[in-house]
Symmetry: C2
Subunit: 249 residues, 2 copies
Amino acid sequence: MSGWLAIAGLGPGSEALVTPEVRVALAQATDIVGYIPYVARIAPRDGLTLHPSDNRVEGERAAHALEMAAAGRRVVVVSSGDPGVFAMAAAVFEALEAGPEAWRDLSINVLPGITAMLAASARAGAPLGHDFCAINLSDNLKPWELIERRLRLAVEADFAIALYNPRSKARPEGFARTIDLLRDVCGDDRPILFARAVSTPEETLTIVPLSQATPDMADMRTMVIIGSSQTRIISRSGAPILYTPRSAS
Amino acid sequence: MSGWLAIAGLGPGSEALVTPEVRVALAQATDIVGYIPYVARIAPRDGLTLHPSDNRVEGERAAHALEMAAAGRRVVVVSSGDPGVFAMAAAVFEALEAGPEAWRDLSINVLPGITAMLAASARAGAPLGHDFCAINLSDNLKPWELIERRLRLAVEADFAIALYNPRSKARPEGFARTIDLLRDVCGDDRPILFARAVSTPEETLTIVPLSQATPDMADMRTMVIIGSSQTRIISRSGAPILYTPRSAS
């Protein structure tokens, strides 16, 4: 069997943030599988079949990719950011575990990418410079109560907190509740970063105290980072710098 | 003033994981500043001065880089992994805040990289595929009590946990205490990944249940990831796959 499967991270948007390792896999592929806007980033060429699919069909997409690899194709599943962070790698392994035994012999490689929180953090300064956590705010795959519980424990641990998918389509009020909860437990002054479409021409960065955060500051392309109690802002003539010092007491 | 400062992530070791954005900065630099083994990764060339320095002098190194940029040099501070995750970006901003007001007008950019936990996660499967946290186990810059408190809260939140710097030189018994604590609160069966020197020729990956983890499985080049209660292992003829499914209840 000469087929293989790579699950590759395209980074947050800029081609300058795609690793050479991912470039090689894309160049060797016969098939590209992924969510429509991510597959749209791949240049068509002879011998390459693009398989864009809609959101919310991750399981079917993963099984399709495994089937093609088992049939001898060289398949790259593309994710934005890093495939292992709230993206396709876990979906592929769920499908692998549920699928035919023969799939387990396939060559499968996960190729890491620059995940959204690292890109956003870099553009703002270094808000994740001390201990931190990453929480997916989408409640498609877990109950809202678990999200709230994690947020409270994360604040108690004094982590900086990176929030992926802040605006869930299924429950748009979730992010409003998140802001209320955070104000409750962190106070009004804690800095919050809204980093939208980082590394693309549409990039915007906004840093406000929690008291001024409103739900409409985030959309589906926004990464949100809440500082820890130690996170600081350096003012200057240009954009302010948001960072968390290395030491804590 | 035509000088600038870039704080760049070289990724975990392989040149195939260095982003094109970082390559461009390195090609334009007049000066490279960083910890000895990271600066050793940069090829010497005419017009480029290398400034390797020892571990534990991050503050002085950061100030030196800012001074040179202020003097008109094009300076790249190199970190392994991502500069914003337990690396040089926070150290530079600490020095910036403490330094002369004029430094604040400098052009400073953080260039993200593939941080160790993402590289380790990719090689093992997708253990960070659901909510997770990252904790620096070094107690150089924070009290051990805070580390223990964070570990307990992270387990209570059922995060997968990525541990940076598991073997602190200053307190080698710290990682033994961490394993004891985790066994206490997670039970014996929770999988733990030891990923050493990922993406280099010396790479090794070991996955064991917590009951079989021993402190000597980690050294200064090892990334440790402890699964959440949902993390699973897929057995197969090749290396097993460690992953955390997307959903939780």
